[in-house]
C-alpha cells in the first residue's frame, strides 16, 4: 500500500502560518517576477480566481474583499516542506518526497494494527499540530491509485481529506475511477487524454479496462504502466533517495530586460555562483559549463535572439572561481549587443563524484590550492542565515533581479525575519 500526502494550497497556506490576521482572508501567491497566480487559498478559489491569471489583471478587479498577494517566498516554502516531511517520517517507515508539497509513504502492514483511513487521519492531525498546514491523504495499492484517491478526497469534501482504496473493496475503486476524468490520472497529460478521447476513453475506469498491448502500441510503455497500476499492479516503487543529479540548471527571467553587457555579466556571475553552490551540495564535480541567453519570443518589433555557449574544462571542478571564469568565457562568445534580453541561465553537466583526474603536463590551469576549504567557508557563511558573501563580478546593482515586491519574511530561516509576538 502507498499513501500520498499533499498539503492543501501549499504556498498560500505557508503564507498564512505566521499571519493570524490572514486566517480567513483570500490569499494568492504569484510566480517569479510577480507574473501570475500560482497558488490560491480556499477563500481565493471561492472568489473565482483562476490559476495562472496575470497579477496586473487581477489587481484591477473589484472583489468584495481585498485579495492579499505574495511574491513566491521559496525559502519559507522549502523550510515548511522539510518540516512536513519530518512529521511524516516520524509516523511512516519510508517516505519519498515527490515534490515540494507531495510525499509518497509506504504504509504496508499498517492495517494489521489500525484502519488505513484512521492512520490517514492520524497523519493529518500530526502534521496539522506541528506545522499548522493541512494535508490530504490518498491511499491505494499502487502510487497511481493513491494519487487517484487523493484527487477524490479533494473533490468530495465528505471524505474529510482522507480516502483509502483497498484491494479488499474493488467496487469502491471501480466507482471512483468511473467518476475520475482520464486527464486527472497520474501520468496522463492533456495531450494523451485528447488522443484517448478519440478512442472513446474518457474516464479512468475506461483506461483501466483498456487492453495493455493496445495501449503500448498506440502510446508507450509509460502509459501501459499506468494501466497496470490502475488495475492494482504496483509498477512504480518508492524512491527514498533521489538519484544523483546529472545536470544542474540555474536560470531566471529578469525583472527588467537586460541591454548592457555589464548587467548580463553580473547575472551570469550570480547564476554561476548559485550553480556552483548546488554542485557542492550534490558532492559532485563538473566539466561542462554552458551559458544561455535569450530575448523574449513574444516581443513585438524585436528580432528573437537566443544562443548557448559551452566551455569544456580539462579538469573537473566545483570551485566557484573556475565556474565563473568558464561561464564568462562562454558568455563572451555568444553575447550580441543591441538586444533586449529577457532570460539567461547556466547549465552544469558531465559530473564526476570526485575531483580526481589525470592532469595534463602542458595544462595552463592548475588546480587551485585550498579550493575545498575556501568553498566550505563560503557556503557555511551563506547558509548561516546571518549574511551573504559573494564575488564582485555579481555586482551590487540589482535592477535586473527578479521582481518580488510582495515578499513575505523568511520566518524560519533568517534571524532577522523571525515572527514576532506582542508582550502584553
Amino acid at each position: 500500500m502507498f499513501a500520498l500526502a499533499d498539503v492543501n494550497a501549499f504556498y498560500a497556506s505557508c503564507e498564512k502560518v505566521f499571519r493570524p490576521d490572514l486566517r480567513d482572508k483570500p490569499v494568492v501567491v504569484l510566480s517569479n517576477n510577480d507574473g501570475c497566480v500560482i497558488a490560491r487559498s480556499k477563500e481565493a478559489k471561492r472568489l473565482g480566481i483562476k490559476m495562472g491569471v496575470p497579477w496586473f489583471q487581477l489587481k484591477s478587479v473589484d472583489f468584495p474583499e481585498p485579495v492579499i498577494a505574495f511574491s513566491s517566498n521559496y525559502a519559507l516554502y522549502a523550510s515548511l516542506s522539510n518540516r512536513v516531511m519530518a512529521h511524516l517520517e516520524a509516523l511512516a517507515p519510508r517516505v519519498e518526497q515527490y515534490s515540494i508539497d507531495e510525499m509518497f509513504l509506504d504504509v504496508r502492514g499498517i492495517d494489521s494494527c489500525m484502519d488505513f483511513e484512521d492512520f490517514g487521519r492520524q497523519l493529518r492531525e500530526h502534521v496539522g499540530n506541528g506545522t499548522g498546514l493541512i494535508i490530504g491523504v490518498g491511499m491505494g495499492p499502487t502510487k497511481t491509485l493513491a494519487k487517484s484517491a487523493q484527487w477524490a478526497s479533494k473533490e468530495w469534501p465528505q471524505f474529510g481529506g482522507v480516502l483509502a482504496l483497498t484491494p479488499g473493496n474493488p467496487r469502491r475503486t471501480e466507482k471512483l475511477l468511473s467518476l475520475q476524468p482520464v486527464e486527472e490520472v497520474w501520468g496522463v497529460g492533456r495531450r494523451i487524454s485528447r488522443k484517448l478521447a478519440t478512442m472513446g476513453i474518457t474516464t479512468a475506469l475506461q483506461l483501466a479496462r483498456a487492453n495493455s498491448v493496445f495501449i503500448r502500441k498506440n502510446f508507450n510503455v509509460v502509459l501501459e504502466r499506468t494501466v497496470r497500476e490502475l488495475n492494482g499492479e504496483a509498477c512504480i516503487s518508492l524512491e527514498e533517495s533521489p538519484p544523483p543529479k546529472q545536470q544542474i540548471v540555474c536560470s531566471r527571467s529578469f525583472g527588467e530586460r537586460i541591454t548592457t553587457y555589464e548587467a548580463m555579466r553580473q547575472a551570469v556571475c550570480l547564476y554561476a555562483e548559485r550553480g556552483a553552490e548546488k554542485l557542492r551540495g550534490e558532492h559532485q564535480y563538473c566539466r561542462h559549463i554552458s551559458v544561455f541567453i535569450k530575448t523574449s519570443p513574444f516581443a513585438v518589433n524585436h528580432p528573437y535572439y537566443g544562443n548557448v555557449g559551452t566551455e569544456k574544462l580539462h579538469t573537473p571542478t566545483r570551485d566557484t572561481r573556475d565556474i565563473i571564469d568558464a561561464a564568462i568565457r562562454a558568455l563572451d562568445r555568444i553575447w550580441v549587443p543591441g538586444h533586449r534580453y529577457a532570460k539567461a541561465g547556466i547549465m552544469l553537466n558531465d559530473f564526476t563524484p570526485t575531483g580526481v583526474s589525470q592532469l595534463n603536463l602542458f595544462d595552463d590551469v592548475q588546480p587551485r590550492a585550498n579550493s575545498d576549504k575556501l568553498m566550505k567557508v563560503l557556503d557555511s557563511i551563506n547558509h548561516s542565515g546571518l549574511g551573504k558573501v559573494w564575488f564582485a563580478g555579481q555586482g551590487s546593482n540589482t535592477e535586473w533581479q527578479m521582481k518580488r515586491e510582495m515578499l513575505s519574511p523568511a520566518y524560519t530561516t533568517r534571524w532577522k525575519e523571525l515572527p514576532m509576538a506582542i508582550l502584553r
Binding site: 493570524p20 486566517r23 518540516r83 515572527p419 514576532m420 509576538a421 506582542i422 508582550l423
Partner: protein, 140 residues
C-alpha cells in the same frame, strides 16, 4: 576549579566538549574511553525540532516573568497547551504572549497589569513557549 568556556559564534548550535578525566601529556589519553556526548543547547531547549519555531518577543516587558522585549522565544507547536503555560495566542489578528488559564474558565492572562485578562470564546493558540533566551550583550 572555575573554568570559563567561550561560547561558539554559531547561535544555533552550542557544543561543549565534556571530559570526565584530565589528560596527562605523553601518554595515550586514559579519558579516551570515557568521552561523553557533547552538550547541545538545541537538545536542551527543543523537544520536537520539526515543530519548533523561534518567535521574537516585542513590547512592554513582563518583569515578574523576566521576559523582555527582544528576547527569543522557543515555541513548540506540537505541545498540548496546559494550565499555566506561557503560550503564543492569536488575538485580534496578531500573536501575543499570554499565560494560559484553562480552569475554572478559559482565560488569557496578560503579562502586564496594564492590560485586561481576555476570556476568548474560541481559543486560537499558535504554540507553547517552552523556553526563552535573553541575551545580556550583543542583542542580534
Amino acid at each position: 576549579m572555575l573554568r570559563f568556556i567561550a561560547p561558539l559564534s554559531d547561535p544555533a548550535l552550542l557544543t561543549l566538549p565534556l571530559f570526565t578525566e584530565r589528560c596527562p601529556a605523553g601518554f595515550p589519553s586514559p579519558a579516551a574511553d570515557y568521552t561523553e556526548d557533547e552538550l547541545d543547547l538545541n537538545a536542551y531547549c527543543i523537544r520536537h525540532p520539526a515543530s519548533t519555531y523561534f518567535v521574537r518577543a516585542i513590547g512592554d516587558s513582563m518583569q515578574d516573568m523576566g521576559l523582555q522585549s527582544g528576547d527569543l522565544m522557543i515555541v513548540d507547536k506540537a505541545e498540548k497547551p496546559q494550565q499555566g503555560d506561557i503560550v503564543i495566542a492569536e488575538t485580534d489578528g496578531e500573536f501575543t504572549v499570554k499565560r494560559l488559564q484553562l480552569k475554572p474558565r478559559i482565560a488569557l492572562i496578560p503579562m502586564n497589569a496594564a492590560y485586561p485578562t481576555l476570556y476568548p470564546d474560541e481559543l486560537q493558540i499558535f504554540g507553547v513557549v517552552t523556553a526563552f533566551i535573553h541575551k545580556t550583550r550583543d542583542k542580534t
